[in-house]
């Protein structure tokens, strides 16, 4: 080491502070190492992830293809609906990417230990903000692979598109992504700069209200049959014109894609240019603005992190104790602690609310798609699909949030281990918590579905019983496998869920759902002519009982395996 106490070498040589290139290089190196270790250390998990991606991709492709095929049956509907599909698709993408970019940008710019480390070194704030902006854009571009490409391929598969449709579509997507990226970055900066914790909560509630109003407006726009046709069409076109305004990015992209589909290449290029120019200009503007005031926002975010105006008194403070009234005192304490943690972690409850909120939105609108008529012709298909959707959402939730519960207790095992609780009781408390949340939401959604479909009570009870059973099985798997294949010492719940045990649990959960779906399909086929308007015969009851018992037995077995392992383990 040099002993000179003069200025550092890099300043003496007139070198510039570390730039975005160096930061990106280190990120690329880390990504390369991550890929290599994923392939080498967890090939099964890697293969599963790839497999699920391909499955989701294919599912979306066939979904888009079916929608376009449906529209193409009547040329007039196709002419109106296909541009609308693109417009809504890119509008939804604009909103979703803005919000997700804002969340990613906030977490990585203002809440990550990396920020603390790099900002104490001679890294220019502009370099740091630019690196994070590029990182969020890369994350955003996943939507291109997952949503954009199947949409493009489905469209091209049905119509005879010119060759330049493909590069133009991809270019539109890539030029579009920086717009929500920049808006998200600005939003994240604004939240960090001006809002404290109380105000952030109010903003979140405000955004949810705006979202609800938007959804209501959208549903009113799509409502058919309550006005005379011409008046309805006029109102519909007026409302739709609001989302196709000349200043909206989704309109540029949808019009550009439409032009490229119809062989109007010059017009398509014009819209591409407009999208690109706006994307670049907005990015430049936002990067400059955010970088120049970044340290002020960073200081504000750090200074208000643990500060609250009032002592934290939760309005639902007594709720967990009430919810688990049926549990013995000690188990109730553990389950209530988990429920409190759940409510205080927006990542957990917002994901559940969004997924099931969308589900309920769909369920409420099921009768509309049949022009307000009962869905008699659909027989058992809709309840079957509802059951499948609820089960898969539940499997995602339990794999991501319930599975890590036991592992996360590893850090507090000195506390939990000292309590007069057996491992079996500990798992019972975890299971009670998981079931309360999962079955509560799943059964609630099923009741909404049954009401909307005007299901007779016996059929509704049958559907509720099977939903309860699948919740039982999935929670049993998540808690049981969580105890059998734990990652004690790991603080990051996402890493626990993505580890070997988490992968095993996910595969088991999906297999359980598929097996129960096969049973429900058998039930549907048996009743295919009568639908749920018919009476429930013995055979139907028997199938439902077998399916439900299967779910519950699977859950019990997993819990038993987990409890035995935890009992033997040295904590």
């Amino acid at each position: 080491m040099s002993t000179s106490a003069s200025v550092p070498a890099w300043l003496a040589r007139g070198a510039r502070p570390a730039g975005v290139g160096l930061l990106l290089r280190v990120k690329l190196r880390a990504a390369g190492n991550q890929l290599a270790s994923a392939v080498a250390e967890a090939p099964l998990r890697f293969a599963m992830t790839m497999g699920f991606l391909v499955a989701i991709w294919l599912g979306l492709y066939f979904l888009f293809r079916t929608v376009f095929e449906y529209f193409q049956r009547t040329p007039l509907e196709a002419a109106v609906a296909i541009p609308l599909v693109f417009s809504f698709f890119f509008l939804a993408l604009l909103v979703m990417l803005t919000v997700s970019n804002a969340i990613i940008a906030y977490m990585s710019l203002f809440a990550a230990p990396e920020a603390m480390y790099l900002l104490a070194s001679p890294v220019h704030p502009r370099a740091y903000v630019s690196m994070k902006y590029i990182e969020t854009l890369v994350f955003s571009s996943w939507s291109l692979i997952l949503l954009g490409l199947p949409l493009m391929m489905a469209m091209a598969d049905l119509t005879d598109e010119p060759w330049y449709y493909y590069p133009l579509f991809l270019s539109f997507f890539l030029c579009f992504v920086p717009i929500p990226g920049a808006m998200g970055l600005l939003l994240a900066w604004g939240v960090a700069r001006f809002l404290n914790r109380d105000m952030r909560r109010k903003l979140l509630i405000g955004l949810l209200i705006v979202l609800a109003i938007t959804v209501v407006w959208f549903l009113k726009t799509m409502k058919v049959g309550e006005a005379e046709a011409v008046r309805w069409l006029k109102q519909f076109l007026f409302r739709i014109s609001l989302i196709q305004g000349a200043f909206l990015p989704n309109a540029w992209v949808s019009k550009g894609v439409e032009a490229s589909m119809q062989d109007r290449s010059i017009e398509a290029l014009l819209y591409l240019g407009v999208t690109l120019a706006n994307g670049l200009f907005l990015s430049w503007l936002v990067l400059r603005a955010v970088s120049s005031r970044f340290l002020v926002a960073f200081d504000h975010a750090q200074s208000t992190k643990g500060w609250q105006r009032r002592a934290y008194v939760e309005p639902t403070a007594g709720l967990p104790g009430l919810v688990f009234f049926y549990l013995p005192h000690r188990l109730r304490l553990i389950a209530a602690k988990d429920l409190r943690t759940f409510f205080r972690d927006p990542l957990q409850w917002t994901q559940l609310v969004i997924l099931f909120g969308l589900m309920i939105l769909y369920l409420v609108n099921v009768p509309r798609y049949a022009g307000g008529q009962p869905l008699e012709g659909w027989g058992m298909i809709i309840p079957f699909l509802n059951f499948g959707a609820i089960s898969f959402i539940l499997a995602t939730f339990t794999s991501r949030f319930v599975f890590p519960l036991v592992s996360l207790e590893g850090l507090q095992m000195w506390l939990i281990g000292m309590l007069p609780l057996s491992p079996r009781q500990l798992l019972a408390a975890k299971f009670a918590f998981a079931m309360t949340v999962a079955a509560g939401v799943a059964v609630g959604t099923t009741i909404v579905a049954a009401t909307m479909l005007k299901m007779p009570l016996p059929w509704a009870l049958l559907q509720i019983t099977v939903t309860f059973a699948v919740s039982f099985g999935l929670c049993g798997f998540a808690v049981g496998f969580g105890a059998r294949l734990p990652m004690f010492g790991q603080r990051n719940a996402a890493r626990i869920a993505n580890g070997f045990g988490g992968t095993v649990n996910l595969i088991a959960s999906v297999t359980l759902v598929l097996a129960m779906l096969v049973g429900m399909a058998a039930l549907g086929i048996h009743n295919r002519f009568a639908g749920f308007q018919g009476a429930i015969d013995m055979r139907t009851l028997l199938i439902a009982a077998i399916v439900s018992a299967f779910g519950i037995v699977c859950g019990v077995i997993a819990l038993t395996i987990g409890a035995r392992h935890l009992h033997r383990a040295e904590l």
Binding site: W10, E114, A120
Partner: protein
């Protein structure tokens, strides 16, 4: 003697809570300064302001003559910060991380290689340096972060709880490293709860409580200030919790 860190009438509050209240403190070049205080006294806030991570609401901080608020990059180039929770990129090896830091401070490759070799030997890192840092224990991470902080030979080393997680041999090595740096004219600003280490290695000690600097000086000066000939632990307890004095007496008897 020139000033390495100059803190002038600095205030920092979080809402209604005052974290640092009218703090004025100068640390000279070639000085090892130990910053002590109870939990929540304002130590980490002060350190973050020195490193430019937080901004004082009033007053200013200079590092090697550069005002942190207006000339932050030049100031940060002169210092290295080791936080209490060591940060490393999980998916880089320790060696890759050190190379990244060296590049960030434009350390020439030959100097980097020589320094990394020297620090690897001193801190006993050879066995794990080429593994991904996600597999490191707290102590291993602390060693790598410390090595990264020393790579560019900073004029000021700011370090929050330096000895947590280190084995006794490494604690000894780190203490020697600090003293060597101070003899070379570098400055070490260390926040710690380990009073024995502060007593053993610090040139001067500052005690902060409820955001205010309540004692400052060499160990002997603090003894004089507290009118006591006892250990730093007793002086610390006497100053930060005066009611504990009796308990201290009982303990001593």
């Amino acid at each position: 003697m020139t000033t390495a860190i100059d803190i002038e009438s600095v205030y920092k509050h979080y809402g209604r809570k005052v974290a640092v209240h009218d703090l004025t403190l100068s640390i000279a070049e070639g000085e090892l300064f130990a910053f002590l205080g109870p939990n929540g006294a304002g130590k980490t806030t002060t350190i973050k302001m020195i490193c430019g991570l937080l901004r004082p609401q009033r007053g200013q901080i200079c590092v090697c003559g550069h005002v942190m608020g207006t000339d932050g990059l030049a100031a940060k180039a002169q210092l290295a910060y080791v936080p209490d929770q060591p940060f490393l990129y999980d998916k880089l090896t320790g060696r890759e991380f050190l190379s990244f830091v060296a590049e960030m401070y434009a350390v020439p490759a030959a100097t980097r290689d020589a320094t990394v070799a020297e620090l690897t030997e001193k801190l006993d890192m050879e066995e794990f340096l080429d593994k991904l840092t996600e597999s490191y224990s707290h102590g291993m991470k602390q060693k790598v972060v410390l090595a990264a902080a020393l790579l560019h030979d900073p004029r000021v080393l700011v370090i929050d709880e330096p000895m947590v997680g280190l084995d006794p041999r490494t604690v000894r090595v780190v203490k020697d490293l600090f003293r060597t740096r101070v003899r070379q004219g570098r400055t070490v600003f260390m926040s710690t709860h380990t009073l024995e280490i502060a007593e053993a290695v610090a040139d001067r000690i500052g005690i902060i409580d409820q955001g205010k600097l309540i004692a400052l000086g060499t160990f002997d000066e603090l003894r004089h200030q507290a009118r006591s000939q006892r250990s730093l632990e007793d002086i610390f307890l006497e100053l930060t919790h005066p009611s504990n004095g009796a308990a201290g007496d009982v303990h001593e008897r």
